[in-house]
Structure formats: structure tokens, C-alpha cells
């Protein structure tokens, strides 16, 4: 039996996991974007049709969904800037791992602040 080569390019570390997360969040955001253009298009049907569908975005379950969506967007945004830094900054490839922890930390801070704001609107009378 041939053994798995010891030195392959991808070994499932930070670089590859961030790449996987970037893909998944990207696809999620893309499908939401399709739906979001469709729901916004209801303003051309009637004000009532638009308000009825937007009301669905305001129930608690959808509120949690929005939290997930914003989480995906914020990660994709910060990690995308990291990818740009890796590609264009001379020292980017050397510090890509440290930058990923920066991305994760900033993401956690942003999401903490956003969760407090958004959940108090969705669950409280704001």
C-alpha cells in the first residue's frame, strides 16, 4: 500500500479552513442577494405587498437568521481584505495566519456589538 505523501500542499490548517469558510459564506450571501433583490422589487408591485413581506423579516426567527447573515457578511468582508493583503502586501503571505486571528477577533467584536443592537430591536420594543 502506498503511503500518503508526508508533504502535501494542503493540510487543513488556518489557510485552508479560512478558504473553506470564505466559500461557504460567499455562497450564502449570494443566495440571500438573489432573494433580497426579489423582495425589494415588491415596491413596484404595491406598498402593501412590500410591507407584508418585509414584516416577515421582523419576526424573532428571521431576526436570528439576519444575525447569521450579517455574521457571514462580516467574516467574508474581513477575510476578503486579508486575502487582498496576502496577494498585494509584500509581507502578506508571511503573516497570513496572524491576520486570520485578527479577522476572527474583529469579527467577534463586530458581532458582539451588532447582536446587542439587532436582538434588542427584534426581541425588545427597541
Amino acid at each position: 500500500m502506498p503511503k500518503t505523501p508526508a508533504g502535501t500542499l494542503y493540510r487543513g490548517r488556518e489557510g485552508q479552513w479560512s478558504w473553506v469558510a470564505h466559500r461557504i459564506t460567499g455562497v450564502v450571501i449570494f443566495f440571500f442577494l438573489l432573494v433580497h433583490v426579489l423582495d425589494t422589487s415588491l415596491v413596484r408591485v404595491s406598498p402593501e405587498a412590500y410591507d407584508a413581506v418585509i414584516a416577515a423579516y421582523k419576526n424573532p426567527l428571521m431576526g436570528l437568521g439576519e444575525l447569521g447573515l450579517v455574521g457571514a457578511i462580516v467574516f467574508h468582508a474581513y477575510n476578503g481584505l486579508r486575502v487582498i493583503a496576502v496577494d498585494f502586501w509584500k509581507k502578506g503571505p508571511r503573516y497570513h495566519r496572524q491576520m486570520l486571528w485578527g479577522v476572527v477577533g474583529l469579527w467577534a467584536l463586530t458581532m458582539l456589538a451588532f447582536s446587542i443592537r439587532h436582538l434588542s430591536v427584534v426581541f425588545g420594543g427597541h
Binding site: 466559500r23 460567499g26 455562497v27 450571501i29 449570494f30 442577494l33 438573489l34 433583490v37 426579489l38 425589494t40 422589487s41 415596491v43 413596484r44 404595491s46 406598498p47 412590500y50 410591507d51 418585509i54 423579516y57 421582523k58 431576526g63 439576519e66 450579517v70 457578511i73 468582508a77 476578503g80 481584505l81 486575502v83 487582498i84 496577494d87 498585494f88 451588532f114 443592537r117 439587532h118 430591536v121 427584534v122 427597541h126
Partner: protein
């Protein structure tokens, strides 16, 4: 005697006989790669402002309704903002999904079909969104009934 040097494959100075790919595709993939980075930077700013104005500022998501949209699109700045965001986000997302299809769909026919569906959806959504922004009417009259709002003229 000078030592013959072999150029790096990506230097663009490889003699045509040794090129691994036909040059017919031109620099499309490089353009797509660059577009992802340029549009990405712009989208981070545009979408963060978009999320701020609709989910954080004011009353958050509870303020969003027809009147909120009408108020925003009364300003040409927000019209242009949303139009640019629509086009950039759709093209950025379409190119991302195109890359994913190319990576995972192994059969030529599967790739072709998936990309056909993708490009159709992209064209439809971009045209629809663009039309909606340009033809938006804050005070529509539907079946002879005028929309009632503080910013609409009373009949």
C-alpha cells in the same frame, strides 16, 4: 559564452511554442481575479454602510417599510449607491459561484448547465433590480386608489 536562461512560466516571456495554454482566452481570468479584489474593497464599504442605515441606525430593522425605501430613493445619492451595490455585488457573487462550479462540477455538460442557470439568474436579477430603482414611484396609484402617505399629494 552566456548561460541560457529559462524564463518563469508566468513571466509572459515564454516563447509561444512552449506555452501550455492557448492565448485565445486572453487575460479574462486575470481580469476576473483583479475584479474580485477591486470590487471586494468597494463592496465592504458600500455594504457596511447599507447594513448600518437599515439595521443599526434609527430604529433598526423595525423601521424598514415602503416609506423607508421611498425616503431613501428620494435622494439620487442612495439611488446611485444601491445601483452600484447591485451591479458590483451581483457580478462579484456570480464570478465567485462560477469559480465554485468550475472547481466541483467535473462533467463538461454539468458545468455548462450550471453556468447557464447562473448567468440567466444574474442577468434577470441585475435587470430587474435596475428597473426597480429607475422606475420606483413613491406615490403609486393602484387600481385607481392613490397611496396615502405624508409625502404624497392628496387628491
Amino acid at each position: 559564452m552566456a548561460v541560457p536562461t529559462v524564463e518563469s512560466p508566468r513571466s509572459g516571456r515564454v516563447s509561444p511554442g512552449y506555452s501550455r495554454t492557448r492565448s485565445s482566452r486572453g487575460n479574462f481570468e486575470m481580469g476576473a481575479w483583479l475584479f474580485m479584489r477591486l470590487s471586494g474593497v468597494v463592496l465592504v464599504v458600500m455594504i457596511f454602510v447599507h447594513l448600518w442605515t437599515s439595521l443599526v441606525a434609527g430604529d433598526g430593522i423595525s423601521q424598514v417599510d415602503f416609506g423607508f425605501v421611498a425616503g431613501k430613493w428620494a435622494s439620487p445619492i442612495w439611488q446611485v449607491w444601491d445601483l452600484a451595490m447591485l451591479w458590483l455585488a451581483m457580478l462579484h457573487g456570480t464570478n465567485g459561484v462560477r469559480t465554485i462550479i468550475n472547481d466541483y462540477a467535473e462533467k463538461n455538460s454539468t458545468r455548462m448547465w450550471l453556468k447557464g442557470v447562473l448567468y440567466t439568474a444574474t442577468v434577470v436579477i441585475i435587470l430587474l433590480g435596475t428597473l426597480v430603482i429607475f422606475t420606483f414611484d413613491p406615490c403609486p396609484v393602484i387600481d385607481g386608489v392613490a397611496h396615502v402617505a405624508s409625502y404624497c399629494p392628496t387628491a
